[in-house]
């Protein structure tokens, strides 16, 4: 039973840390991209369409790292592959 406790503790703590780091870094990156894009749109409103589309594509790219972290955190909590081995025997 001790083993299962450790796996649970490690999974929960690591899931939290994963979400913390994994949302912090993409948030900083996205904020930077967004502020640059806003600046560019303010300078060249005519190019707003192209800028917005490129911004969306870029944000999607940056965001995918956050999504990877989120999926891993969810797997650790709800579908931990090591949990069944420790509890089921």
């Amino acid at each position: 039973m001790m083993e299962a406790t450790w796996i649970a503790v490690a999974s929960i703590v690591v899931a939290g840390v994963t979400m913390a780091v994994g949302s912090l870094a993409p948030a900083l990156g996205q904020a930077r991209a967004l502020s640059q894009a806003l600046q560019s749109i303010a300078q060249q409103p005519d190019e707003a369409n192209t800028l917005t589309r490129t911004l969306f594509v870029g944000l999607a790219m940056v965001e995918s790292t956050a999504i990877y972290c989120f999926v891993i955190a969810l797997i650790l909590i709800f579908a931990n592959p090591f949990w069944g081995g420790a509890v089921g025997g």
């Binding site: 369409n49 192209t50 589309r53 969306f56 594509v57 999607a60 790219m61 965001e63 995918s64 999504i67 990877y68 989120f70 999926v71 969810l74 709800f78 579908a79």
Partner: protein, 235 residues
């Protein structure tokens, strides 16, 4: 709480289990087909087209404009594929507000299938436009040493395409489920309204990325490295 509509079995025919993903995908397909049939039924050039007709025209024009802007080519050949991707994903995501509906895009199987169809469509369009040799030569440019990197980028961008859509939509439904259990009065509705916005944006992003990949697969880089629209966007 179920993470994926794959785990929900609606009914069972013999040894074949029909899960929620499959059933709701069919439902969306039927709705879209029925809607398209209803709108185009009495199609005639009138001075004042009916309202649904105008709305569908706006959608088609929007998709055509986006494709033309990204590819800088004639958008017509890409319209059926990219437009279908956009409409299907947007319909799946928007129907989330209907109670009892589980979006098929919240299942990794659906999004992986969509991403794989993009993976197949890129060489298909590339070969159709440039020929087999012309398309394959693009892998050896600027030097043959780039070949492994290009192959890895094809694989990783397909994975990213699938996981991005899955993660966004699944996180929306999971967050609503968690909120229903801890603060059931107002917050789930707010998050669901937010989820509508996310859903449409994700459908847009999926379609735009598909066009960007197709554009990079169908364009010839004549001579030097002309940095065109959307090229170099690889993930």
């Amino acid at each position: 709480m179920t993470l994926s509509p794959d785990a929900v079995t609606l009914w069972r025919v013999g040894s074949v289990a029909i899960n929620a993903t499959l059933a709701f995908t069919w439902l969306v397909m039927v709705l879209l087909t029925l809607g398209a049939w209803l709108v185009t039924r009495g199609l005639a050039s009138q001075a004042r087209p009916a309202l649904p007709h105008t709305m569908v025209e706006m959608l088609v024009t929007f998709v055509l404009d986006q494709i033309r802007d990204v590819t800088e080519q004639d958008p017509e050949p890409y319209l059926p594929f990219v437009g279908t991707l956009f409409v299907f994903i947007a319909a799946c995501n928007v129907l989330t507000i209907v109670p009892g509906f589980m979006p098929p895009t919240a299942s990794l199987s659906t999004t992986a299938a969509l991403a794989l169809s993009v993976l197949v469509a890129v060489p298909a369009f590339g070969v159709a436009r440039l020929g087999v040799v012309g398309y394959l030569q693009a892998y050896l440019r600027p030097t043959p040493w780039m070949l492994p990197f290009k192959l890895v980028s094809e694989a990783s961008r397909t994975l990213a395409l699938a996981v991005r859509l899955f993660g966004n939509i699944m996180s929306g439904t999971v967050i609503v489920a968690i909120l229903v259990s801890i603060a059931p009065l107002l917050f789930p509705a707010v998050m669901q309204a937010f989820g509508l916005l996310i859903g449409v944006i994700q459908a847009y992003i999926f379609a735009i990325l598909a066009i960007v990949y197709i554009a990079s697969g169908t364009s010839v880089q004549a001579g030097g490295n002309r940095s065109g629209n959307g090229k170099g966007v690889n993930e």
